[in-house]
Symmetry: C2
Subunit: 429 residues, 2 copies
Amino acid sequence: MKQKVNIAIVGLGQIGNYLFNELRLKKKDIEIKTGKKINIAALSAKNINKKRKFKINKAIFFKNPLEIIKKKNIDVLFEVIGQSDGMSKKIVELALKNKIHVITPNKALIAKHGDYLSNIAERNKVNLEFEASVAGGIPILRTIKEGVATNKINKVYGILNGTCNYILSEMENSKDSFKNVLKKAQKLGYAEPGNPKLDLNGYDALAKIKILSSLSFNKSISKKKCLMEGIENIEFKDIEIANQLNFRIKLLGITDLVNNKLFERVHPCLVKKDSYIANVSGVMNAVILHGNPIGESVLQGEGAGPGPTSSALMSDLLSILRGNIKFPFGISGKKRKSILSYDLRKYSNSLYLRFEVNDKPGVLSQITRSLAICNISIERLIQIPDHKNKKASIIIITHRTNELNANKCLKSLKINRNILKIPTRIRLF
Amino acid sequence: MKQKVNIAIVGLGQIGNYLFNELRLKKKDIEIKTGKKINIAALSAKNINKKRKFKINKAIFFKNPLEIIKKKNIDVLFEVIGQSDGMSKKIVELALKNKIHVITPNKALIAKHGDYLSNIAERNKVNLEFEASVAGGIPILRTIKEGVATNKINKVYGILNGTCNYILSEMENSKDSFKNVLKKAQKLGYAEPGNPKLDLNGYDALAKIKILSSLSFNKSISKKKCLMEGIENIEFKDIEIANQLNFRIKLLGITDLVNNKLFERVHPCLVKKDSYIANVSGVMNAVILHGNPIGESVLQGEGAGPGPTSSALMSDLLSILRGNIKFPFGISGKKRKSILSYDLRKYSNSLYLRFEVNDKPGVLSQITRSLAICNISIERLIQIPDHKNKKASIIIITHRTNELNANKCLKSLKINRNILKIPTRIRLF
């Protein structure tokens, strides 16, 4: 790579702005560490006139990012638009084809098109780096690709979505409802103001799990449908009851190899209060990996926000400037295998089930009978009356049961008119 | 680097053995990940006939490791003898001068001669890698050099000695004495059977702190004397009282910049039971770093043992095989500054002080008077009588005070004949 490196930033939202500033601030530091002088040669955003902390030099501004590739001699391009397709995909594709290194924090793009894009990068002998796509500032991808490179990893799990973790922690702390806490999270910038759905329904965490899986197990990104449940149906009531039972509720992403089959999932879990993962609070992320011979390793840090994200983006830049040409997924795309999926129906857990029912004779017996028919045995049962409304909450902790039986049981109870809403199911970790 | 890479292992103790086996097991994996074929071309140990899990091929065995450099065409050499000087230094020096990459887990060597050796490596354009020297399998050095490369780090601390952490945890769990638990640790292989002093007195943790400092603050390794206290004087009594006060005792290594001055220290600390660091138990290590913009990051994992150590050694090997030529300390030796030391006398903490005294009138008043004279105010005082022996333990938790005053006070009490042994001082974190 030449001594003077031209950089383009495509997208000037919260992250693009922060990154722009970091690049200017750390110019000297980067030169000391890599021997390269960086030069911000092109910027692109939807709206040049949006209020920003810096004035955009019009000479390097492009409304259409694709123009940058034609008109400027770029060496490294940051894609910080954040779409899974659209312009994000177009500009990354075009850049790689033109032998430009690409750095992106875009998990949606990588989880969807990572295999395709990394092949283009490999063919053109440039880097496609995406450290910031998983767990913000925590260098978890670099750790898997390099730090524990020769370990046989068999499980990776963790708290991968700061928005959900903040909401669950804050519901517990403030004893407030999901709805109110979500509003608070939006005010504080921890949740998307417009449509926070992709964070709350588990989609964001699942994209990260898919990336972690690919790197950990040296495989292509799985396209199969996975178990994906978010936290939208968690009520304060659940947090309170979990608390009494010495549990906390966390949204976990988990991927492991079960008898050489791949099992990726995202769902809320009841975790023991004194466990490590239960004590990762607020917007923090944590990733735990099991490898041989390394044993259990834990990485924890701020999972989101422009600061930690920029930290990861900059680490990617330094890796490129130091001349570390690497396969985006650690090994060549040709050597990445595809792994059969584990049969979800066999997934076995103790379950926390909450039924909201009419307080009428026979309801409890109907529920317990359904459980018995489906071979699900009860470890614990709590009934909380709501005398005023002639209703009750029935909470059941089951012994271990598999998804097949649990689904069958919950399905059979669907027609029961005394059960007032879809039961809440939370798996024990 | 050529396609076939010749490797030498110098030292065939616990780690050398494990590493040898890993190299053989992961040969194929290494080829997939780096495109290089590795070949173990030379081995060296004091005694060829020692009982080992594998038979040494005499054709590649060298009693004198220095011969290897002359007689074999080595590309990468692992130094796993473990001395701070002697043959460890000689062979590393000779290898680097002969343009051979060196990988070592030897913290004593790096903390003492790291600057000198890294200069030789830089001059000869080869790597000197020592990921395994700090925190076993946790890729903390790589994280600092690469993962958070452009952050301004201002503090790094953690549990860096698995032996001490095991002993403190086990004293709490088994309610047993330091002496007995040390014996147990030696039996389990967690403490050196011969002379565990360097683990117990803080020397090992301080060597790691010096390496972490150098990398975090881009500075040369400090030669100055530091505050170094071990756990040899911690009694079960201290753990029990700490427990009652909602604390745990941990040996922490800490380095930070205070007003741009470097402050490195290792000493036991009282940490709040519900804090993260208090819950890192047994042989686990944990490193916490504060950086801007990354915020607080935590890395935790098994800190010692041949498995995690080999994992780190192998990650260094892969980095070299992938062609990542790097400065051993992240930046060129010429650019590494030296930083003034913080004045230890200003170090300010709340203190836990335990006095073993004769149960005579006036003793307590003498102690409290000395504290008052030195401007140390008391937050909490507990007196535990030992009627049978007419003795007592007096435990005092002070408000914040600096080392100057604390030392003055403890010195003034030295002549007090009713104080039966040197008081135990543990700083609150």
